[in-house]
């Protein structure tokens, strides 16, 4: 459970010579009852871990695709509590590690301490909070350490080297290297500096480094995995589920696997 589960899953993937692939889905997009089946699909398709977004009315780090998915989930009246409850009752049906991606406010409304406790009970292994930079993380870390859920830190293209070092030191599970100056959403191509940046971050930590934001094609998956240890794919996965084009999800995940040696 928690950090350990994440570490083991990543280790296992990398040992095989594959790259880590973490798909993002918005919890409750398509209704809360669709969640267990989508988790199962991604697990069977070969995802290493799953990032599960909690809908929020004001998601400033997200672009149009994930904003729209969040609105759909909110229309279905999905809440953090409903997601945790659903994860709890389906805990035994899955082996894939679960990482919650939520803004701070739903956690505040839930109660920070209660949230930390309930996450563990629901089988949550990691946590990504996009509006919680390290300056404010004490508000939550005390409760988390106790409960052993990994707090995954984000590094940005704009972070100067001394910040990158601290972030790399502190991160648990993996280091999330944000690859665009902007919000989430499909990109056509990445700036040249991105490769250097991922390599630079990679040198600073022994934890896996995953590139995320804008990764939307099998080509991106291969290209960005080369510098680090894998990718997080959000908006494109959300779109594929919404438009029911699951074959494209499989293609994306397959792009993270080692090419068979002939």
């Amino acid at each position: 459970m928690g950090k350990k589960t994440l570490d083991q899953a990543f280790e296992k993937t990398l040992e095989k010579g594959d790259k880590i692939f973490v798909p993002y889905i918005m919890a409750g997009d398509g209704g809360i009852d669709a969640l267990p089946e989508r988790i199962q699909f991604l697990e069977e398709a070969g995802a290493t871990a799953l990032e599960l977004g909690i809908p929020f009315s004001d998601p400033v780090a997200d672009g149009p695709t994930i904003q729209a998915a969040g609105l759909r989930a909110l229309e279905e009246k999905v809440t953090l509590k409903k997601v945790l409850d659903k994860l709890k009752v389906t805990k035994k049906d899955r082996t894939i590690p679960i990482i919650l991606m939520t803004y701070m406010n739903p956690i505040c409304a839930y109660g920070i301490e209660a949230f930390a406790k309930e996450s563990v009970a629901s089988g949550v292994d990691g946590l990504i909070i996009p509006d919680l930079p390290m300056e404010e993380e004490e508000r939550i870390t005390d409760h988390l350490t106790e409960n052993k859920v990994a707090l995954i830190r984000l590094a940005a293209l704009t972070s100067p080297i001394d910040r990158l070092k601290t972030i790399a030191e502190k991160t648990e599970g993996f280091l999330y290297a944000v690859t665009v100056k902007g919000t989430t959403g499909a990109q056509v191509e990445f700036q040249k500096e991105v490769g250097d940046y991922i390599s630079r971050v990679k040198d600073l930590t022994t934890k896996p480094v995953l590139a995320g934001f804008g990764v939307s094609t099998p080509e991106h998956v291969r290209q960005l995995s080369e510098y680090g240890d894998g990718v997080v794919v959000g908006s494109e996965i959300v779109t594929c589920f919404h438009e029911n084009r699951r074959d494209k999800i499989t293609e994306l995940i397959d792009a993270s696997k080692r090419l068979p040696v002939n």
């Binding site: 809908p55 929020f56 009315s57 004001d58 998601p59 400033v60 780090a61 672009g63 904003q67 909110l74 809440t79 953090l80 509590k81 803004y103 701070m104 406010n105 739903p106 956690i107 505040c108 409304a109 839930y110 996009p130 509006d131 919680l132 930079p133 300056e135 404010e136 830190r153 984000l154 590094a155 940005a156 293209l157 704009t158 972070s159 100067p160 910040r163 972030i167 944000v178 665009v180 100056k181 902007g182 919000t183």
Partner: protein, 403 residues
């Protein structure tokens, strides 16, 4: 002078549990750069001179502290004074802050400015100073507000700004802030975000308060020159809370001065149609800060309502949350109808049509005046003039005034 700005916020931008910096990592370097630039600028005599020069010769400061004789008689209690922020260039206090931040933008070597606006007052003030200082200016405004405030949209465009209509969410102020933040994330290296109130991540709440403190500093001196003492009470309206914070700051550590903030109670707190964040909100995180917020049980931000677009915000400056919890400032909701009454009263008694935002403070002052004596004094921060609201008021009053 012993004012709150010397002690709070702490180094991390905290006012007690409130404030802080809840922004994506991509923005953190810019927020730290801004803090550094601001701390250097505020102690730099060159910057101070430049700021003072523009405030005097361009904005038209200092603004008068007007003794309101007929309003005093109408209230039948303490002497009423009005701090006349309505007489600033562009008609409200907003320009004090916009000017300060635009000068800071230049100092940081940035050429572009992004801002949000609700009713358009902060947008107009920002477009104005950007024209003055030759900065590129992009203003995000909710779709609904663009529709309601066509004239202000045109004003901003006349001033050379680009106005972007925001479709996301309900298309109002909070959505405009979200889009401005997203734009800033994507353009952070050459763009400064001129936030319009004492909200957002540190150092904005502190910096905006300091730029607006010119209101309180002048008031204190002017009142002292007239009455040779401190006032007994001060009232201001609060949306995000910048005019109130600027007015209160030099008085916060003067225990004898009672401070009051008027929130928008809209159609009444019980109806759910209001913007009374401190009265009915819960603590949470929005737009980079921890503060009281209007939200539902699961932490989704709810849409505020007020007749006055400038008070129509689901959050509040973190320092106000702190001042509420420490009982230093008393906050109370004033309804649309009460504000309309206040607006008419001031218009007829003093020949000043206040902004609808300000009208909330007038009515609250009337209530407070009932508890005070004739030898006491009460100052109202007259944050803006009402020209922009005349159409709204005409619609609401219908034939009432024509008789």
């Amino acid at each position: 002078m012993n004012t709150s700005k010397e002690t709070l916020p702490d180094k991390k931008g905290h006012f007690g549990q409130f404030g802080g910096r809840f922004v994506p990592e991509t923005l953190m370097p810019a927020v730290l750069e801004l803090e550094d630039a601001y701390e250097k600028a505020k102690n730099d005599p060159v910057f101070k001179r430049e700021m003072a020069g523009y405030l005097k010769d361009y904005v038209g400061r200092e603004t008068p502290l007007t003794f309101a004789k007929r309003l005093t008689e109408a209230f039948g209690g303490p002497k009423i004074y009005l701090k006349r922020e309505d007489l600033n260039h562009t008609g409200a206090h907003k320009i004090n802050n916009a000017l300060g931040q635009a000068l800071l933008t230049q100092r940081m070597g940035k050429k572009k400015v992004v801002a949000e606006t609700g009713a358009g007052q902060h947008g107009v003030a920002t477009a104005t100073v950007c024209a003055l200082l030759d900065l590129e200016c992009i203003i995000f405004m909710g779709k609904e507000d663009v529709r309601r405030q066509k004239l202000n949209v045109f004003r901003m465009e006349l001033l050379g700004a680009e106005v972007v209509s925001v479709d996301q969410g309900e298309g109002t102020l909070k959505d405009a802030v979200n889009e401005a933040l997203r734009y800033w994330v994507a353009n952070v290296e050459d763009t400064h975000y001129i936030i319009g109130s004492v909200v957002g991540p540190h150092p904005f709440p502190k910096m905006v308060r300091d730029f607006q403190s010119v209101i309180g500093d002048e008031t204190r001196e002017q009142f002292d020159a007239l009455e040779h003492r401190l006032p007994d009470a001060i009232v201001a309206c609060v949306g995000g809370g910048s005019n109130a914070m600027g007015m209160f700051a030099p008085f916060v550590n003067e225990a004898s001065v009672k401070l009051y903030g008027a929130e928008a109670a809209g159609k009444g707190i019980d109806t759910g149609k209001h913007a009374a964040t401190l009265t009915a909100g819960k603590v949470g995180v929005l737009h980079g800060m921890m503060s009281y917020l209007l939200q539902d049980e699961s932490g989704q931000i709810t849409e505020p309502y007020s007749i006055s677009a400038g008070l129509d915000y689901p959050g509040i400056g973190p320092e106000h949350s702190y001042l509420k919890d420490t009982n230093r400032v008393t906050y109370e909701g004033i309804t649309d109808q009460e504000a309309l009454d206040g607006l008419q009263l001031l218009s007829r008694k003093e020949g000043i049509i206040p902004a609808l935002e300000t009208a909330h403070a007038i009515t609250y002052a009337q209530k407070i005046a009932q508890t005070m004596d004739a030898d006491q004094s009460l100052i109202i921060c007259l944050s803006g003039r009402g020209d922009k609201d005349v159409e709204t008021v005409r619609e609401r009053l219908g034939g009432q005034v024509n008789g």
